[in-house]
């Protein structure tokens, strides 16, 4: 598996993404309905403690709603920067 890149998704590319600290997650699912573009869903993967984990689908905007509602401080939020991408 490779990390997502600016070229990964369509013409405009994805606007953002998240890193999830899976080992800290307690599977509460609060992030799922909180996600405005509805790109988080529960997976069948579990962490070492046995909690079911969320997974990210295409279309993250990097809005940070998941971070705000996560009781276990699992989400790190990134926004892709098209200008910086062009310069690169």
């Amino acid at each position: 598996m490779s990390a997502p890149s600016t070229e990964a998704n369509g013409k405009r590319g994805p606007r953002g993404t998240v890193v999830i600290d899976a080992e800290r997650c307690k599977g509460c699912e609060l992030c799922i309905p909180a996600c405005p573009p509805e790109v988080l869903r529960m997976s069948s993967n579990r962490n070492a403690s046995g909690y079911l984990l969320p997974e990210l689908l295409e279309g993250c905007t990097g809005c940070g709603a998941c971070l705000m509602v996560c009781p276990d401080f699992c989400f790190e939020v990134y926004r892709f920067d098209p200008k910086a991408a062009e310069g690169a």
């Binding site: 990390a3 600016t6 994805p14 998240v18 405005p36 069948s44 790190e76 990134y78 926004r79």
Partner: protein, 271 residues
């Protein structure tokens, strides 16, 4: 395992992205020493804590801040808070905050209390602290239940709410009515700022932060007592699946303990 037949593409989330990007949100709130805590899945208290720490950090008050902490589940969060703290007794944090503020008037002094702590055991303390116009900020994490003991009725439990000692639901005839503490405190002359927020969704969390900012600003302007009540989920104490916590909070507790600003600059806001 990811289903290979799933038409939706799963994006890896185990490492930072490659390419031009900027981090817009840290997983850990500012002023934390670690991220691990033992609060239950779906608990609303860490959401409130993030906003409190973020507000203190944004005001650049970290090195002029004193927290006085009550007794409840949130007490466990003191381990991760990189703020000078005084651990108070159940209900007594407003008094401890009073003494601290009188001796250190230049600091931002706040309490962190639950509804059992503030509205049951320590009702007298918070009311008199407000009535004195004590220049501190009391923060209530209100989930309408004693979470730490496993789900018992508090003074803010709403009618019909099932708890372990009101198993058929809180009944006014048997258990009396919930105390709307924010509304009560707003009516005291010593209260300068008073608001009730809820962390049931991201919008609510953002509103919580605005209210905290205003309460802390009010304190640093020396306006008098400030109060922010934050409704928080407690799926364990409500006997609900974690995913149902936010809606229960919004529709059951939130229907009685209504969200909004109650007082600003010493002036009541009529709803």
């Amino acid at each position: 395992m990811t289903d290979p037949n799933d038409p939706l593409r799963v994006i890896p989330t185990d490492a930072p992205p490659i390419g031009a990007c900027r981090k817009t949100g840290d997983s850990l709130p500012p002023l934390t020493l670690m991220g691990e805590h033992d609060l239950c899945p779906g608990c609303g208290e860490p959401l409130a804590l993030r906003q409190i720490l973020d507000a203190i950090d944004a005001m650049d008050m970290a090195q002029r801040a004193i927290g006085t902490i009550g007794i409840g589940c949130y007490t466990a969060l003191t381990s991760l808070m990189d703020i000078d703290l005084i651990q108070a007794l159940h209900g007594r944090a407003p008094s401890v905050a009073t003494g601290a503020k009188r001796m250190r008037p230049e600091t931002l002094v706040f309490t962190l209390q639950g509804d059992g702590d503030m509205v049951n055991e320590g009702l007298q303390e918070v009311i008199h602290t407000a009535a004195r116009g004590e220049n501190v900020t009391c923060i209530l994490l209100n989930n309408g239940v004693f979470g730490e003991t496993g789900g018992h009725m508090t003074a803010t439990t709403v009618l019909g709410q099932r708890t372990k000692n009101s198993i058929e639901g809180r009944d006014a005839g048997e258990h009396g009515f919930p105390i709307l503490i924010g509304d009560l405190l707003a009516r005291l002359e010593g209260t300068a700022y008073c608001a009730r927020a809820s962390v049931h969704d991201a919008k609510g969390v953002a509103r919580t932060r605005r209210f905290l900012d205003r309460a802390f600003e009010s304190q640093m302007k020396g306006q008098g007592f400030s109060f922010v009540e934050i409704l928080t989920m407690c799926p364990t104490g409500w006997f609900l699946p974690t995913a149902e916590g936010p809606d229960y909070l919004d529709q059951e507790l939130g229907a009685i303990h209504e969200v909004g600003e109650l007082k600003k600059d010493g002036v009541l806001i009529e709803s």
